[in-house]
């Protein structure tokens, strides 16, 4: 066995190195011109004070780039790059970095951005290796589940595109069903536990969503500025609603899975147990995990607002304005998710109490 282990580790290692090196030298695959920074000279540094009295510095650097692909391969071109100390939309370049550029006929160079493929591929390879190192090959299941979900996700967005973005909500509602069934089937297999966990997940998701729509209606959406959403120019409200549907799904499934498998175990160990004995155990478990689960999503949604909120505050906006325009939607999403997470506990406990028979042969 250890020999096999060494073999697979070595294989993984060589494969990773291969992929990482491959992306480092993949310039020939690009249609855009790829170039490497071969020398950097700092030209000048200038102090800026803006109308809000923020002090920043703008530095101009002269970069010499070596072109790595296209017919101009091997040629050197020069370009000026200026970056600010805060680097909000610009960046400082170093020798050795690869960049994507566009090159006009008179050798006018514009840097389009850093080439990040090697970086992200290396990070993914390292992470997969770490997961396999820690939980061995059974960790593959978790990785596969992630990949299947990513694929479904890409398909859904493509589908949305085919419909010209007209059916975002129906598509993502359908996706809730598919995601739930696929993910939970990978965990439980096809049995009654799947039925319990999937039903609880789907019902909680849609009840919390319905409650949210009801609240939107009765409060006349007071306080919400959909136009504060980044990248959702065309129909921000619909896209926000789709985000709400999808965002808490993982946490809710997580919770429903935990409660269902524990209650199944309980029922197997005590076949005589009735609803009255099973239900409270589920509720007790739920109480323990609600808090941390809510925090996971809360921190994901709120941390995301930090860069924009800082920009707002430094541009002389009041704390209230900043809150309303940068944090409000994240907070709304956190709260709707939290409602779904809380609802899942009694729903799963009731369903498990009713449906998990003691003589049922589940996987666990």
């Amino acid at each position: 066995m250890p020999q096999k282990k060494i073999f697979y580790s070595l294989l993984l290692f060589i494969l990773s190195i291969g992929i990482i090196l491959g992306t480092h030298f993949d310039a020939f695959l690009y249609q855009d011109t790829v170039a490497k920074v071969v020398s950097v000279k700092t030209l000048n540094r200038q102090k800026n004070i803006d109308e809000h009295e923020n002090v920043d510095h703008t530095t101009t650097q002269k970069l010499t780039l070596e072109i790595l692909n296209t017919r101009q391969k091997g040629q050197h071109v020069q370009v000026h790059n200026s970056y600010t100390e805060s680097q909000a939309v610009d960046q400082k370049y170093h020798v050795g970095q690869q960049v994507l550029i566009s090159l006009s006929h008179n050798q006018n160079v514009v840097i389009k951005g850093l080439k990040r493929d090697t970086f992200i591929v290396a990070l993914i390879c390292l992470t997969i290796s770490l997961i396999l190192l820690i939980v061995h090959k059974k960790g593959l299941m978790a990785i596969i589940s992630l990949m299947v979900n990513s694929l479904l996700f890409i398909l859904a967005i493509q589908l949305e595109l085919i419909h010209n973005g007209k059916n975002i909500l129906p598509i993502f509602s359908g996706l809730v069903f598919i995601f739930t069934l696929v993910t939970l089937a990978l965990i439980f297999g096809l049995n009654r536990q799947l039925l319990v966990a999937a039903t609880a997940t789907i019902i909680s998701t849609f009840i919390s969503f319905g409650l949210f729509l009801l609240i939107l209606n009765s409060t006349h959406e007071q306080g919400i500025h959909y136009e504060a959403m980044s990248y959702a120019v065309q129909q921000p409200k619909i896209i926000f609603l789709a985000q709400i549907l999808i965002g808490a799904l993982g946490a809710i499934m997580d919770e429903a899975t935990d409660i269902t498998s524990t209650l199944q175990q309980l029922r197997l160990e005590n076949p005589a147990f009735k609803f009255k004995q099973i239900f409270p155990v589920g509720m007790g478990m739920g109480r323990q995990i609600i808090g941390p689960l809510i925090s996971i999503l809360f921190l994901i949604f709120m941390a995301d607002t930090i860069p924009m909120a800082v920009l707002y505050l430094r541009n002389g906006n009041s704390i209230l304005q900043t809150f309303n325009w940068t944090m409000y939607l994240g907070l709304v999403q956190s709260l709707v998710s939290a409602i779904g997470i809380v609802l899942t506990v009694p729903l799963t406990s009731v369903l498990a109490g009713q449906l998990l028979g003691g003589n049922q042969n589940g996987r666990r």
């Binding site: 680097q87 589940s145 609240i215 965002g247 935990d258 995990i289 994901i300 860069p307 800082v310 709260l335």
Partner: protein, 257 residues
């Protein structure tokens, strides 16, 4: 009444119905966490170093999540210690990730929306990017360490004679489950948070070549990966610490080694 207040009210009522007296700690913890995030934003805007600010307040947020959840003091202590070690490891990991990925600030995608702002605000967006990535992983770290520590504690109490080797084996098995579910939570959480961005990419027909080098896209993927790594590191660390500290759970450890 605003949407947030109405939602908060509904959440409060549901929590009272479902969790009874635990409502206070869950809801209170959530409010305190919100205040912490608010503090992070205000402090960074006042000019404190972003990453350090996020790290220090992050330690407080972890304490809030772990000790406001219904765990015993020893379990909580193990979970907290593990979380602190993991968050420090994350800082060490995030710095090179930011250096090589240059994930800071805003993409070309946001140009329109940024037009009215002065971007020369004198605060390092690379450091803010590190702070954001660090904070968005905190919840997952806390949840994984609590789940691991509670499960191992239950195991030790059930079978006090468990050998060290057996404990590691069981720890690995529990760890797999904790990881798989945490990955799911993170996956949907992040995709739910950035759906607008992904739809944008598809609508503007970003080519794969453009996408894999795009600052915003890569920044999101890197955030998910860092959170996944955080959970992955949490699992064996908790098992290790629980094995070391098993006597603290009033269990005979002479059968050990």
């Amino acid at each position: 009444m605003g949407v947030v207040s109405a939602l908060a009210l509904v959440l409060l009522v549901l929590l009272l119905l479902v969790t009874g007296k635990d409502t206070f700690s869950i809801f209170g913890g959530l409010i305190l966490n919100f205040l912490m995030i608010f503090m992070v934003i205000i402090l960074i805007s006042l000019g404190t170093p972003p990453l350090l600010t996020a790290l220090i307040l992050g330690l407080l947020i972890l304490a809030l999540i772990i000790f406001f959840s219904p765990v015993t003091l020893t379990t909580g202590a193990v979970a907290y210690l593990v979380s602190v070690v993991v968050i420090l490891l994350l800082v060490v990991l995030i710095l090179p990730v930011q250096y090589f990925g240059q994930l800071q600030g805003f993409g070309n995608e946001s140009n329109e929306e940024l037009g009215v702002f002065s971007l020369l605000i004198g605060i390092s967006f690379p450091q803010i990017a590190c702070a954001t990535i660090l904070l968005s992983a905190l919840g997952a770290i806390a949840e994984a360490s609590i789940a691991m520590a509670s499960a191992l504690r239950a195991l030790l109490i059930e079978t006090p004679s468990l050998s060290k080797h057996q404990l590691y084996q069981d720890g690995r098995q529990i760890g797999r489950k904790v990881m798989a579910t945490a990955f799911n939570t993170l996956f949907f959480g992040f995709f739910g948070g950035y759906l607008a961005l992904f739809i944008w990419f598809v609508e503007l027909k970003y080519s794969p070549a453009l996408l894999i080098n795009d600052k915003l896209f890569i920044a999101e993927i890197a955030s998910i990966i860092i959170a996944i790594v955080a959970v992955t590191l949490t699992v064996p660390l908790t098992t290790f610490l629980m094995t070391r500290w098993r006597h603290k759970f009033e269990i005979d450890n002479r059968s050990d080694s």
